[in-house]
């Protein structure tokens, strides 16, 4: 058995074409579907076979079997958005032992379990950006809250850390972080949590929802509560999901990297890693097709680059 995967991952790996397995946190929601789309697009460009599959719930335990079978099927690389950085690590290490390359994207896996992490536009700029976007809308003062995904989502927590750090800066000292609510990447929950925020903090000025499920939900609740005027909303979501609200002034400024590009880049990175062009060292770089040159930063993390910023004016230029 092991011999088999060695063969495919060993000498075979030197051939130009690879088999790459793209595992999202869970399948079924558009964001990940778009990642898959981008990944496949990149695959076509590079002549690689890209498979997109995963569990139906955001559960690490249910991601692992996909990792293991990918190994057995002789895939050359795994691209994954981890539900639990640690819980998938042993499986990913098994894969690496069998000669596979691992690239994490969106939500990182334990460092020693992947070669490169393709991060959403780097934590720093997103975190800072989110604060700026909300701050600029409320005149840099007032009570704000965060609507996050799950308490344990690595990327969310990273952003929250930066947001807290940024808020300490003199420019933002007017902004007070009242509460961090969790919507569990679940539309229902997110909406209810937003409602809860409105109740608990009558004079809330702004909400930061750095989740593609949470932001539109929040926007909708604000609209239904007729609070779009009084509460500034920002966060991360696809322009399609926000268009209606943004145009009505709910979430006048928010951002996102292009989810299609995200998957696209992740697969390009995986290919480069397989070619041995990327080893995770800071400063290494590659030309990622239509995205141009991208470079690895520290912690062998490659940021998506600055997010696109959507406003009522420019939003109609984007369709994803």
């Amino acid at each position: 058995g092991s011999a088999k995967s060695d063969r495919t991952a060993g000498p075979a790996a030197k051939q130009a074409t690879y088999k790459i397995f793209l595992i999202p946190k869970f399948i079924g929601i558009p964001v990940f579907t778009l990642n898959g789309k981008g990944g496949k697009e990149a695959g076509k460009k590079l002549g690689d076979t890209v498979t997109y599959n995963g569990p139906t719930e955001a559960s690490a335990a249910k991601q692992v079997p996909f990792i293991d079978t990918a190994v057995r099927q002789g895939y050359n690389a795994i691209v994954i958005s981890a539900n639990d950085p640690n819980a998938v690590a042993p499986a990913l290490k098994r894969a690496q032992d069998r000669g596979l390359k691992v690239v994490s994207y969106d939500a990182d896996a334990a460092k020693d379990a992947r070669t490169v992490y393709v991060s959403p536009p780097d934590t720093q700029s997103i975190g800072a950006g989110l604060v700026e976007w909300v701050g600029s809308q409320v005149g840099y003062k007032g009570q704000i809250a965060i609507l996050s995904a799950t308490t344990t989502a690595a990327n969310q927590n990273a952003w929250i850390a930066v947001i807290k750090k940024t808020l300490k800066k003199p420019k933002y000292k007017g902004l007070k972080l009242a509460k961090i609510a969790y919507g569990n990447d679940n539309d229902t929950k997110s909406a209810q949590e937003t409602q809860a925020l409105l109740q608990a903090y009558p004079n809330l000025k702004g909400i930061i929802a750095p989740t593609s499920v949470g932001l539109p939900a929040a926007a909708r609740v604000l609209q239904q509560a007729k609070k779009c005027g009084s509460i500034a909303l920002t966060g991360l979501a696809t322009p399609n999901s926000m268009r209606a609200y943004t145009k009505k002034g709910c979430g006048k400024k928010f951002g996102l990297w292009n989810e299609v590009d995200f998957g696209y880049l992740a697969v390009y990175v995986a290919h480069a890693v397989l070619d041995g062009k990327l080893t995770g060292k800071a400063g290494e770089s590659l030309v990622a097709g239509r995205l141009g040159r991208r470079t690895i930063g520290k912690n062998s993390t490659m940021p998506m680059g600055p997010p696109l910023v959507f406003t009522p004016k420019n939003i109609d230029k984007y369709h994803f």
């Binding site: 088999k4 335990a61 079997p65 996909f66 079978t69 042993p90 098994r94």
Partner: protein, 343 residues
């Protein structure tokens, strides 16, 4: 014996074996990789923690109760284990405490059901939420990740030329032990009696309350052991451990031929059904069939199997009746004979 021969044909376990073979053939056609030694030996490993919970739940269901809180119990014990280890205690000590906590939580269920006299579905519906909440309250962060290898081997270790997963052995070991407990011991007999007719069991001097508490304690303990394997295999001790695995656990038990209303079922059946589900998922994954489609297939398999089972049971009983028939005819003759004798 002729009767056994006839019996075996209509045994549920036999059906499961046939299903496993049939599914095997199908999976083989899905992917050539399915029938490799590595794959066959390893395909169950990711599902062992589910299997272990199922073994415990089997006792509860045969005893005529239900415990839907097992996954939450697992989570609590996992978090406790993680926290204690992080606090610098010896890993095995931490593991022991985890097991004790799990058993304790199980006993709490048992107390509420057997002593306070509440319906187990309601009780464990409550503790399902309460325990999960508890797990998060104990620790809601990333939890410990780096556990010593000699411990994680429970989950990811291999023995015998690095071929056979330890977890699989743990599962089979537990199954054998529990199978013995259920089928060969007095306690096991009590469980069946309880599930079939609790009042009659009580009248017969069976320690009903103690037995019912014990059953839930056992279920908790198994959830705890499942927790060890979980930590070993996934190397994570987070409060959301095993979230969403409840349906898989119940499915395993029921597909194993355990009567959801209690009183009947066998350990072998449950083990087989655990393997069957693992095999099926593995095969479909090797063919990159989507997770959603996999769920549909499992769901359909469950229902189809039960439907088939009902048909078989009908066959079985009619078979039994024919036997009664022959026998009681004989009896009639015999008693008649005696009658002649007495008069």
């Amino acid at each position: 014996m002729r009767r056994v021969g006839l019996g075996v044909l209509v045994r549920w376990e036999t059906v499961l074996v046939l299903l496993i073979l049939a599914v095997g053939v199908w999976c083989r056609s899905l992917s050539p990789l399915f029938l490799t030694r590595v794959n066959l030996l390893d395909l169950a490993t990711p599902y062992i923690f589910i299997g272990l919970m199922a073994l415990g739940l089997t006792f509860v269901i045969i005893a005529g109760e239900i415990d839907i809180s097992v996954a939450s119990i697992l989570a609590v014990s996992v978090v406790v284990l993680g926290q204690i280890y992080e606090a610098g205690a010896n890993i095995w000590f931490a593991a022991l405490v985890g097991l004790l906590v799990a058993t304790g939580l199980g006993l709490v269920n048992g107390f509420l059901v057997a002593v306070v006299g509440l319906p187990s579905l309601a009780v464990t519906l409550g503790t399902l939420a309460a325990y999960r909440g508890l797990a998060f309250l104990i620790h809601s962060g990333e939890g410990v990740a780096s556990f010593p290898t000699q411990f994680t081997n429970i989950g990811i270790g291999y023995v015998w030329g690095q071929q056979v997963p330890v977890a699989l052995l743990v599962f089979l070991g537990a199954a054998v032990a529990l199978g013995f407990l259920l089928h060969a011991t007095r306690f096991g007999r009590y469980i069946y009696a309880l599930g079939a007719n609790r009042e009659a069991a009580r009248y017969s001097g069976i320690p009903v309350t103690r037995a019912r508490i014990a059953v839930f304690g056992l279920s908790g303990l198994l959830a705890g052991i499942a927790g060890l394997v979980y930590v070993g295999f996934f190397g994570s001790s987070r409060a959301d451990a095993a979230d969403g695995s409840l349906l898989d656990v119940v499915t395993a038990v029921v597909l194993g031929g355990v009567d959801i209303f209690g009183g009947s079922g066998s350990m072998v059946g449950v083990v087989l059904s655990v393997l069957l589900v693992a095999e099926l998922r593995n095969g479909m994954q090797l063919d990159n069939i989507g997770g959603d489609t996999q769920n549909i297939v499992i769901g359909v398999l469950l229902l189809a199997a039960i439907l088939a089972g009902n048909a078989i049971r009908a066959l079985q009983t009619s078979g039994l009746r024919t036997r009664i028939a022959r026998a009681s005819k004989k009896e009639v003759v015999r008693t008649a004979g005696q009658a002649e004798g007495t008069t």
